[in-house]
Amino acid sequence: MEDMMYELLFFLEVLFSGLLTGTLYSLVALGFVLIFKASGVFNFAQGAMMLFAALSLVGFQEMLGVHWTIAFVLTVALMVVVAWCIEKFVLGKLVNQEGIILFMATIGITFFLDGFGQTIWGSDIKTLDIGLPTGSIDLGGIFVDRLELVAGLTAAALVVSLAIFFNKTKIGRALRAVADDHQAAMSVGISLRTIWIIVWSVAGVVGLVAGIMWGSKLGVQFSLTLLALKALPVLMLGGFTSIPGAIIGGLIIGAGEKLAEIYIGPFVGGAIENWFAYMLAMAFLLVRPQGLFGEKIIERV
């Protein structure tokens, strides 16, 4: 009985930690979804934007010696500039190209941002400290990492505010119009350029938040961009066009891979975290090709 109780608590602890890691994946996936929804661009650069934003935040803090809130504001401004540049120099020139071309262009952006960020801010591993709590707390026998809890709450807050932004504001409605049909949106007077800049800026800010969370957890370093790849199975699971999908997909992937690592890993040699998420997503897609919340794919001849 005692044993079973302990087992259960352990299981819950693993599950909880997995769910919270999952919200961190969701934060990255959220940026992808925003851009995919509004422009149909599969934005590979989300991970690079996250790294760039986190590097800039730390850079501003160190260089100017200011409080992190000021650095945050500066970084947000920088991300808006980045969004403007991307629209001006890349996407604006590639209007009406196929999805794969735009996807490649975002890979180009990825390379550029990775190189640029490290050129101006240096490539050492930096510690990001904005006073987020560390250590773990005891929730009725389950130990929970405080930072992950904060990340989870932040993700929740972000999703709620994005939902309000999308559904209640004028810009939000314009964004959804563009997402549905570029031409129809343009014909009722919505400026595609402005919308794209806004969406990329918002994705940049989401990237910044994700960067802060991951940076506080692991330090700001180049390998953060690899984490962004983990957002891909999250997206597949949740569907490319669904914000709740990004969140729930993240939770499933996070919990799934942690549980698999603990309970299946030892039997097959461990380190299955590297591929489990992809396999899970692939198996899932075989049942539902458009993901959990994705729009049904309708094919016309």
Binding site: L94, F111, F112, G269, N274, W275, Y278, L285, L286, P289
Partner: protein
């Protein structure tokens, strides 16, 4: 003027369907092959041949493989590196299995070993291609990532693949064909060149056959292709099989001819991306484009590494690495904006220009 087919009459279907129906093309291909076989081994230094030409050819072969899948059949794959790894490691297993059984040395002929490795990779490719029947577009790209990470993990974790080598590194056997050993970089280069030339020819012929037209029909619109009578199952899986076969042979060559010793990490996700870049920059749906793309991606980093010191600009090594990233990114975007259909397209345009030059009216 230089590229005019006027006056070249074809009087049989056979002539009309020839792989290079125009005289200039035949002369051009012959000249390139002659140059590659005779001039390069004599003119270039061993270092350049070993460090640039051989890897370029092998990567071009992998790019042809991916181009068949992505450019011709329209299935995006980010698992090329893993398929190359399968090729490399199964070639190693075939080469050493007689030693395992107690024999003295590798008894299977080298060429057979490499081709068998390709066949094994094709089978693995088919297995990972099965989801493509349900999953499309970017969703499929992510599914192929599953192949990439899973295979990499498997090769590291399961000792059988490396014959229980403690470091996880495999060492290729000497390259011997009919008693002749390929030792110097130039000899290895010629070995690779023969393989790549033969397989490029095979690819060129495949894509203009019934099978290749099926791939293109599936790429352009799979439902329409199904309606006009191409079976999606056979067509998609054959694309996966052929593509993986090419990637597997490329992987085996990479391990046996280029590197000699290999660990699974040599075929990581970055390799997959690099080959995807080659295909897209070179031109999707073009065999020539695979070569141009491979040349571009292989040569650019070397160029970027050597230019700053040459012009007397002394910057740190890590700075160069970062600048390389930036320039690489900018060039990718630049080429996409200037010519979204790849560098091979520039050659097509060039041919048009040459045809009418100097009187374009």
């Amino acid at each position: 003027m230089f590229y005019r087919e006027a006056g070249q009459f074809k009087s049989s279907y056979k002539e009309d369907q020839a792989i290079f129906p125009i005289l200039q093309d035949r002369v051009g291909i012959a000249a390139i092959l002659l140059f590659a076989y005779i001039a390069i081994p004599f003119v270039m230094s061993d270092y350049l041949i070993g460090a640039i030409m051989t890897p370029f050819l092998i990567l071009a072969l992998a790019a042809i493989g991916l181009n068949i899948l992505t450019g011709y059949a329209g299935q995006i794959s980010l698992g090329t590196g893993a398929f190359m790894a399968v090729g490399a490691f199964s070639a190693y297993k075939f080469a050493t299995f007689s030693i395992m059984l107690g024999g003295a040395e590798a008894t299977l002929p080298l060429v057979v070993t490499i081709l068998l490795a390709g066949v094994v990779t094709a089978i693995v490719g088919i297995m990972f291609g099965i989801p493509s029947l349900r999953i499309k577009g970017f969703y499929l790209a992510v599914a192929t990532l599953a192949a990439q990470f899973f295979i990499e993990w498997l090769l590291v974790k399961v000792g059988w693949f490396t014959n229980y080598s403690p470091s996880g590194v495999i060492t290729a056997p000497p390259l011997v064909i009919l008693g002749f050993e390929f030792n110097t970089p130039a000899e290895k280069y010629l070995f690779t060149l023969t393989f790549v030339a033969a397989m490029a020819l095979l690819a060129k012929n495949l894509v203009r056959s019934h099978i290749g037209r099926g791939w293109m029909a599936i790429r352009d619109m799979d439902i329409a292709a199904e309606i006009i009578g191409f079976r999606p199952l056979q067509t998609k899986l054959s694309a996966f099989a052929v593509s993986s076969f090419f990637c597997g042979v490329a992987g085996a060559l990479w391990a046996f001819v280029h590197l000699g010793t290999v660990e699974p990490e040599a075929f990581g996700i970055n390799r997959s991306f690099a080959i995807l870049f080659m295909v897209i920059i070179g031109g999707m749906g073009s065999i020539l484009g695979s070569f141009i793309g491979a040349a571009f991606i292989t040569l650019l980093p070397i160029f970027l590494n050597n230019v700053p010191p040459l012009i007397g600009w002394n910057i740190g090594v890590d700075m160069i690495a970062h600048l390389e990233f930036m320039i690489f990114g900018v060039l990718i975007i630049f080429f996409l904006i200037v010519e979204p259909h790849g560098l091979a397209r520039l050659w097509t345009i060039g041919k048009e220009k040459l045809r009418s030059w100097p009187f374009p009216y």
